[in-house]
């Protein structure tokens, strides 16, 4: 232990006295570790954010959207010419499906609302038009009052279910049931309050107003070509596969997709998200590992070089140490520890840079960042291996020096 500390102290000393060479070497290690740890921590963070999305979709559910919700592949342009998935299309699909399932349809926008308390909200409230299956399929329980019913949808009722944030913000936390809110120029009676979901990825899930989709299509967004999101819930895995097949068939014929052409809509289930996702993560890891390994080999050669020069320059020092009783093993150990220390400095730098990078990424993309414990451990390991393997030869050379000749060296 004492030897390790001593080695580390000597290492810092020699790093300080060979500033340029050391900083170049440390930099190349930092780059290598950055590439490797950056990609592993990015994958960690993506994994956790994707698994949350998968949870939201639910085990036996899949959703149908015009454009991919989570896209890991490049080429957004081809989605722009797709026909919308209208509410009308959703209803046709619903009536043609033969397998038992729940078909939830939703469309949403963000706007401001006004309550009969006189308070107007910020324009950040998510107003969602839904059908009666929305609550079951999306696992959105009601805390108080009732949900949107089939009759509400059929009769285009002006009723609303609100989230907890809305209660707090425009009703000052008072019971909002049977109160009214105004969206645009329409008044809605509040019939229910959602159970609070809290925040996901830093965004509150409770700042919502839910109304019948028919009302939504008429009053909030009357653009007939606006696309809705459809989520279908089956009751078992085989049924899920069956419904997905059936849905694909029905949608292709309703949307006149010719045989051999690609689907002009997206089916998103647990499985194909994981598939897409693993293609993407393996791309990141291969790329990260490849560039990391190259950088680390360069760094390793750098370490070896700086250590060889350092052994040469410090021949006299080695002679002195041997003269006062350092054994070969001690000298070998000292130089290996020195190489490892230099690598670790680079490693810490690399991990820090990649963590800062990730935090920035998280800040701009809403992907929640996982503390990169994996990549820290990985970096510790890599740096130790790198330092000891590339530092071994110079250290061995140092340990073999003859004390008298080393002392005579000028």
């Amino acid at each position: 232990m004492r030897q390790i500390i001593e080695g580390i102290l000597i290492a810092f000393d020699s790093v300080r006295s060979n500033k340029l060479r050391s900083s170049l070497t440390i930099l190349s290690i930092a780059i290598g570790i950055f590439a490797i740890s950056g990609s592993t921590s990015a994958i960690d963070s993506l994994n956790s954010s994707v698994s949350r999305q998968l949870q939201e979709i639910g085990e036996y559910s899949f959703s149908i959207t015009r454009n991919p919700k989570v896209s890991f592949s490049i080429g957004f342009r081809r989605f722009a010419r797709r026909k919308p998935i209208t509410y009308k299309l959703a209803k046709e699909l619903q009536s043609e499906l033969t397998t038992t399932s729940l078909v939830s349809v939703e469309n949403s926008t963000t706007t401001s609302i006004k309550a009969n308390t006189g308070i107007t909200s910020d324009p950040d409230v998510e107003v969602t038009g839904v059908n009666e299956y929305y609550f079951t399929v999306n696992n959105t329980p009601i805390e108080d009052g009732r949900a949107i019913s089939m009759e509400d949808v059929f009769n285009k009722q002006s009723v609303a279910v609100v989230g907890n944030d809305v209660v707090v913000k425009v009703f000052n936390g008072n019971n909002p049931l049977n109160q009214t809110i105004t969206i645009g120029s329409t008044n809605y009676t509040i019939i229910g309050v959602l159970k609070s979901k809290g925040a996901v990825m830093g965004q509150s899930q409770d700042n919502v107003v839910i109304i019948p989709i028919t009302t939504y299509n008429e009053k909030v967004n009357d653009n007939r070509f606006s696309s809705v999101d459809i989520t279908i819930k089956a009751f078992s895995k085989p049924e899920l596969i069956e419904i997905m097949d059936e849905t694909t068939g029905i949608l292709r014929s309703l949307r006149n997709v010719k045989p051999g052409e690609e689907n002009d809509f997206e089916l998103l289930s647990n499985e194909n998200v994981s598939n897409q996702f693993s293609t993407f993560t393996s791309f990141i890891s291969v790329f990260g590992a490849a560039s990391g390994v190259i950088a680390l080999i360069v760094a390793g050669v750098g370490i070896m070089n700086i250590m060889l020069v350092s052994v040469k320059e410090r021949t006299k020092e080695i002679g002195i140490r041997k003269a006062v009783g350092a054994t070969r093993t001690t000298i070998l150990f000292q130089f290996v520890v020195e190489a490892i220390t230099m690598c670790q400095i680079g490693g810490i730098l690399g991990v820090s840079i990649s963590y800062v990078g990730l935090l920035l990424l998280g800040h701009f993309t809403n992907i929640e960042i996982v503390f990169p414990i994996n990549s820290i451990l990985l970096s510790l390991l890599i740096c130790t291996v790198l330092g000891s393997s590339f530092g071994l030869y110079p250290a061995w050379k140092a340990s073999k020096l003859d004390p008298i000749e080393a002392l005579r060296y000028e």
Binding site: E317, I320, V324, G325, A326, T327, T330, L407
Partner: protein
């Protein structure tokens, strides 16, 4: 008298220079007893440093027997030699051989690091020895912040720190002016009077006269080995 610390018999050291063989030492025999104060003299190239390095276990003879405290040094491996250098021998060099970037304190505690001593013990002992050579207020100075005489004191403190059986000094005053040289010789005088065993290489008669026994080398051979009946004497401080 009691057992010799150092006992060499028929030691030779040969350097091969191409086809030529250079005898740095030829058939040298010598015994050094506890608390002796020996000066080794001789002209340049006579083999003084070669002999000292061998006695200090830094170098190995080409032939002959070397017993250190009764143990055969030729039988020892690298680790044993390192241990002897660490624990039993304090070497003082003409060129000081201090670590240039380390403070006096760190230079002095270096042997204890390799002896596996704890940090606190090391520091305490190093301060003690530095004080004993009169450098209590120069602990944090690096070698280039010290005078030549002070550097040699640091080197002597380093040689003393493990309480070695013998102190070997190869021209310790060679790089110093005569006044500073005398101060260093006073220090050796004190060490000897406290019971240390000292071997000192010099080619200055003035310096050699401090010792109680003078060995003269010439061309790798012992020319003479005599008692010095009237060594230069200092009042012990």
């Amino acid at each position: 008298m009691n057992q010799p610390i150092i006992e060499i018999e028929h030691i030779s050291k040969v350097y091969e220079m191409g086809s030529e063989e250079i005898f740095a030492l030829r058939d040298v025999s010598l015994s050094i007893y506890p608390n002796e104060y020996v000066a080794i003299m001789g002209p340049s190239g006579s083999g003084k440093s070669t002999l000292m390095n061998m006695l200090g276990c830094l170098d190995t003879p080409s032939s002959g027997v070397y017993n250190f405290k009764g143990l055969d040094v030729n039988e020892m491996d690298d680790n044993d030699l390192a241990t002897i250098r660490n624990k039993e021998i304090g070497f003082v060099f003409q060129t000081f051989n201090l670590l240039p970037r380390a403070s006096s304190l760190r230079n002095v505690e270096l042997p204890l690091i390799y002896a596996g001593e704890s940090t606190t013990k090391r520091k305490q002992r190093a301060e003690e020895v530095l004080a004993s050579v009169g450098l209590q207020d120069r602990m944090g100075h690096k070698p280039n912040e010290l005078s030549g005489g002070q550097r040699q004191r640091v080197a002597i403190a380093r040689a003393l720190i493990t309480n070695p059986a013998i102190i070997l000094a190869d021209e310790p005053t060679g790089n110093l002016d005569s006044k500073t040289g005398v101060e260093i010789m006073k220090l050796f005088h004190d060490l000897h009077s406290k019971g240390n065993t000292i071997i000192l290489v010099t080619h200055e008669e003035d310096i050699a006269r401090h010792a109680h026994r003078i060995v003269r080398l010439k061309d790798g051979l012992i020319e003479s080995d005599e008692k010095n009946s009237q060594p230069t004497y200092y009042e012990t401080i």
